[in-house]
């Protein structure tokens, strides 16, 4: 394990009943860095975030957060670790019965005994950081997808976490919102001195601002490096992914019977 890494994954194996997802994964996430985990849909990127958060247990290997092995912690231990983490879910996951203000105030109210005026200042500061101070009275249903995600980001950083995890932060956003989120991830990471872990498959955005990138394929880390190193990579998988070629090491067709047999053309 690397001493400087706030999150360290070693020899991780995980799968569901009928499907192996991770065979043997090693990753380190260094303090202050923006690290992206990339790979095709269904390769277990989001599962890694859930393993880091202790929502599921690995079948082999371990995930360490701040030096502690996550799956060996008690419920309280896991909750203590999670207080150092903030997570942005793919669709924001804002509490639909609470206003924007109350959503951001939620973790502060749950974990501190601060009085209302301090909470108000904190909430407005966080909302200001994502540019949505003006939306504090709105309900989540009144927000656009991009705005909802920015509010969720304000909520994720409400307690100034050491680790911020993003699950597909760019999925389904228009180019302007995408740019806004990119800038926010970088600027919040640097302002808070946090470590950001981003799960995504958007190549252009990620290569523009990430410090380090891991490529997942077939349950292992297929490639890793800084964006510049990966751009020069000769690995077929990386080339296919970066240049969005539809066929390559990752086949276009899912495994199936012979086409002619399925169409009944052969007796």
């Amino acid at each position: 394990m690397n001493e400087d890494a706030i999150v360290s994954i070693s020899n991780l194996a995980f799968g569901y009943a009928d499907r192996i997802i991770h065979k043997r994964i090693n990753m380190d996430f260094h303090r202050g860095k923006v690290v992206a985990i990339m790979g095709g849909s269904g390769c277990g990127k989001t599962t890694i975030l859930r393993l880091i958060g202790g929502q599921i247990k690995p079948h082999g290997g371990e995930v360490r957060v701040d030096g502690k092995i996550v799956h060996q912690q008690s419920q309280k231990g896991i909750y203590d670790l999670r207080r150092k983490m903030g997570m942005l879910f793919q669709h924001g996951a804002l509490f639909s019965d609470l206003s924007v203000y109350e959503n951001v105030a939620f973790p502060i109210r749950e974990h501190t005994n601060l009085n209302e005026s301090v909470i108000k200042d904190l909430v407005l500061m966080k909302l200001n950081a994502v540019g949505l101070r003006g939306a504090y009275k709105l309900m989540p249903t009144e927000l656009s997808g991009g705005m909802a995600r920015r509010v969720a980001l304000a909520r994720a950083i409400a307690l100034d976490p050491d680790i911020i995890m993003y699950d597909e932060p760019f999925a389904g956003l228009d180019p302007i919102s995408m740019g806004v989120i990119c800038d926010l991830i970088r600027s919040l990471n640097d302002a808070l001195g946090a470590t950001s872990i981003i799960v995504t498959h958007d190549v252009a955005e990620t290569f523009a601002f990430a410090d380090y990138i891991y490529f997942l394929a077939d349950g292992v880390v297929a490639a890793q490096g800084s964006p510049d190193e990966l751009k020069k990579s000769k690995l077929p998988f990386v080339k296919q992914f970066i240049h969005s070629q539809k066929d390559g090491p990752v086949p276009f067709h899912m495994e199936a019977n012979k086409y002619a047999d399925d169409l009944g053309l052969r007796q």
Partner: protein, 259 residues
């Protein structure tokens, strides 16, 4: 043939697994109870959602049930020349049986489905996961307050149901049919026993409250996070709660009449 038994075994095992999961949820709710009572305002909010918002359907149904009881009761009783006993009949039927049972059935349809759909959708939209990742237990924050709200609400709703039902019976029997008002109330007062009738009715509604609420909560918490999953869970809440209420009613009544 073997396939047939396999299917039966599989579905039986699934049902037992779900029962076990529901029991686990029940016990984890109980472990969060002290915390829940420390932050009672969360429960009060849920009492409003499950109780106060169910009042309209409870009051209107109770009034009609009481009126029908008055009509049917009078029709039968007057054959035997004891139409003054209508007050007793209405009150006993409501306090002992109809109050707790019909309230529980309406509760399952109105509040139970709302609880299941709400929790199921919170799960489907990752709100419960988000809460967990914020180191806040969804069972403490979402499930336990709804559970206690259900238990507190059900006996209150059942007693309101019985009261309004008696009023409905009164409206039909006294002003409309012309049964003697004094006989209506005095017979009721003399023949409804606090311990045997009212307390037993209260115990029933308490048990139904626990059953309906835990079923609604579990179905929501266990629902597959899809539109279809939530809709099925909501249906199951109504079906399971109704059957549980009617089954438990028989068991409780047989104990209460024997003891």
């Amino acid at each position: 043939m073997i396939l047939f038994f396999e299917k039966i075994g599989f579905s039986l095992r699934q049902k037992i697994t779900r029962l076990g999961a529901a029991a686990r949820l029940f016990f984890s709710i109980l472990t969060y109870t002290p915390e829940n009572f420390k932050r009672f305002r969360l429960t009060i909010k849920e009492i409003y959602a499950t109780g106060v918002l169910s009042l309209v359907i409870i009051v209107v149904s109770a009034f009609f049930v009481g009126m029908v009881l008055g009509l049917q009761g009078y029709y039968t009783l007057q054959k035997y020349g004891s139409s003054e006993a209508i007050g007793v009949l209405v009150a006993l039927a409501l306090v002992r049986e109809l109050g707790p049972v019909v309230t529980a059935l309406l509760f399952a349809g109105r509040a139970g489905t709302a609880i299941t759909a709400e929790i199921g959708l919170m799960k489907a939209t990752e709100q419960l996961s988000a809460m967990e990742m914020m180191a806040v237990s969804p069972i403490a924050r979402i499930v336990a307050p709804r559970f206690w709200a259900g238990i507190i609400t059900m006996p209150l709703l059942a007693s309101i149901f019985s009261m309004v039902g008696v009023l409905g019976g009164y409206v039909v029997a006294v002003p409309l049919i012309g049964v003697d008002e004094g006989a209506f109330w005095s017979q009721m007062q003399a023949n409804v026993d606090f311990q045997f009738d009212i307390v037993n009715g209260f115990i029933k509604s308490l048990v139904f409250g626990i059953a309906c609420t835990i079923i609604a909560l579990f179905e929501g918490y266990d629902a597959p996070p899809t539109a279809e999953g939530v809709s099925r869970a909501t249906t199951r809440t109504v079906v399971t709660s109704s059957l549980a209420v009617l089954g438990l009613d028989f068991i409780l009544t047989s104990f209460m009449l024997t003891v």
